[in-house]
């Protein structure tokens, strides 16, 4: 989901001391891993860490399934964890027995995609909502109508990020359905609403951090972390949590079954559950992390950021969406094709 934090993803290889005791190979989203965190880990445990980037869950999964990749740790989005588990790609490293396990925030312990946290620990979590430039529109922003039925002020100025999963799920919730549904009346309603809204959109593009900062785009379906950064550049931009339903997601670190450096990987999993280290992750990519006590180590601007602290009355509207089953997925693709034809 974070593939567009920057336009050009760089292969971030973090060098370290030549005399490293061991190695650790991490497979993570591009521009998502704080180099300082890696350095600290390397110095603490005398391990040489290599970070390799991927740009989408499907490419990551495909590469790992193909084998021979040499990675120890992968950081998929929550919806992909069950797929990894089903395909037998992840190991159970005994996370509940780990020293820092108690730091896990209670709401992130018993999660749908990994009920007892047997396989994975939180990396970062965020939401997909809407970003709006209040110069253009000063009404209610906590609604998916921003893009599903744009107010007159925003017609022709709205962008929708081309994330099929998120957009169609939000459209479904907007028309009263649930994500990944196979209920055809709901799917039809969502499709019709999307097709009707599309002429009022300006684009379906990534790169909103730049385009909303400089005022090319006035509103967009967007991620909270990106919107945080936009607001730092352009204080007129606010983040909205659609009350009809918005998307919550979490990226999770897990150890691969065929990891060659399983011991170092376990050290790393424990390492990132430490509040101070988790704060390092967040301060780099600007998303929350799910470790209790990490707030104390975070930059001040993150502690109160409206993009990160979800208003109490809107928490319930946030939905985790799993990876849809094939049947639903094919309908999503059909709607998407219809939308972009």
């Amino acid at each position: 989901m974070k593939k567009l934090l920057t336009s050009v993803a760089a292969l971030a290889t973090v060098a370290s001391m030549a005399s490293a005791e061991g190695e650790l190979n991490i497979f993570n989203w591009g521009n998502y891993t704080n180099p300082d965190l890696i350095k600290k880990f390397e110095e603490t445990y005398d391990v040489k860490v290599t970070v390799t980037d991927f740009d989408s869950n499907t490419t990551a999964l495909t590469k790992i399934e193909a084998g021979g990749h040499g990675f120890d740790i992968v950081v998929p989005t929550h919806s992909y964890i069950p797929i990894y588990v089903e395909k037998g790609l992840l190991m159970k490293p005994g996370i509940p027995e780990m020293e820092n396990y108690h730091n896990l925030a209670p709401q992130w312990v018993d999660v749908d995609w990994d009920p007892k946290r047997e396989y994975s620990v939180p990396w970062q979590w965020g939401t997909t909502g809407v970003a709006v430039n209040t110069k253009a529109y000063s009404g209610d922003v906590n609604t998916a109508a921003i893009f599903m039925d744009p107010p007159a002020e925003l017609v022709g100025k709205v962008n929708v990020v081309p994330e099929m999963q998120d957009v169609i799920s939000m459209a479904l919730m907007y028309v009263g359905g649930t994500p990944c549904t196979t209920d055809k009346t709901m799917l039809k309603a969502a499709r019709d609403a999307l097709v009707a809204a599309k002429p009022k959109w300006m684009s379906m593009d990534y790169g909103m951090t730049e385009k909303m900062s400089n005022g090319d785009v006035m509103a967009s379906v967007n991620w909270n972390g990106s919107t945080f950064r936009i607001r730092n550049n352009n204080p007129d931009v606010v983040y909205g949590y659609p009350k009809e339903g918005y998307i919550v997601w979490m990226d999770n670190a897990a150890i691969l079954n065929d990891a060659k450096n399983a011991d170092n990987a376990k050290l790393f999993i424990n390492f990132i559950m430490d509040p101070e280290n988790a704060a390092m992750i967040s301060s780099f990519a600007r998303y929350a992390n799910g470790i209790t006590g990490s707030e104390a180590f975070m930059p001040d601007d993150m502690k109160t950021a409206p993009e990160i602290v979800v208003p109490a009355d809107l928490v319930a509207a946030g939905k985790f969406t799993g990876a849809c089953p094939k049947e639903a997925q094919d309908m999503y693709t059909a709607i998407w094709t219809e939308l972009q034809k």
């Binding site: 336009s7 989408s56 499907t58 022709g156 089953p325 999503y332 693709t333 972009q340 034809k341």
Partner: protein, 303 residues
Amino acid sequence: MPSSSEDLAETARVRRNWLLSTPALVLLALGAAGPLLIVAVYSFLEAGEYSGVEWRFSLDAWFQILFHRDIFDDTISLADAHLTIFWRSVKLSLLTTIATFIFGFPTAYFIATRAPKQRALWLFLITIPFWTNLLIRTFAIMEVLRNQGILNTLLMKIGLITTPIQILYTDTAVLIGMAYVYLPLMVLPMYAAIDRFDFRLVEAGYDLYASRWQVLRRVILPIVKPGAIAGSILVFVPSLGAYVTPRVLGGGKNMMIGNFIDLQFGQGRNWPLGAALSMVLLVIVGAALLAYVRVSTKENPHG
């Protein structure tokens, strides 16, 4: 009519040429045919649940290209969305080819009629954009076209318009971008053709009562046609598969074939359909090339 002994000599020559080409053919087979074969095979498999393929034979992908099983009432109809996407790609590619020709021909003509020393410089300037990454060039075009961009700012400064014109994220922007990106591919073969052109034929044309327009249409264009066709193929083929330019400048609202194939391999998780679509793209390109061969051999039956 060639005599039969000439025929025999010709056959022997052809056989020897094939033999000499063996290493190149083997490389071609491995480098080009191999991956193609994989794509072809994948198009006949079932889509995996979350990505990749299941190794079970299926014609679903090919069926899906042309027909659309309505997700709501299961009726089967022509897949008009797919046809729309294909048609848009072909249309934009054709327009791009025409645009590059309209701008490329005078450019090539201009260069070919400079003093020999200057020509090298002009050709060099034409190829400069090639040194830059495609993505960067496309973003540069975006800087020009966007609402607060160079073009709109300029037009507003000189008072031609009061509000910015929305060019970015339209098919026009895609057309401008692709024409810009592929222009050199038209100019270079056109230049080669015009450079070989004997300009005394222009005088012969005027001498025989042809107007400027007639000289262009009846003398220059037919003779530089092979260059124009080569340039058109070079522009049309990559335009058809273009991915970055329509994505960035078109604003992603409307897909072209390249984006559609990407959707199947990525978010759509339907590799067989992606593979089948790639094969269809290949067939279109093949047809274009075949048409080229047809036209060029008809032009020069003894060549």
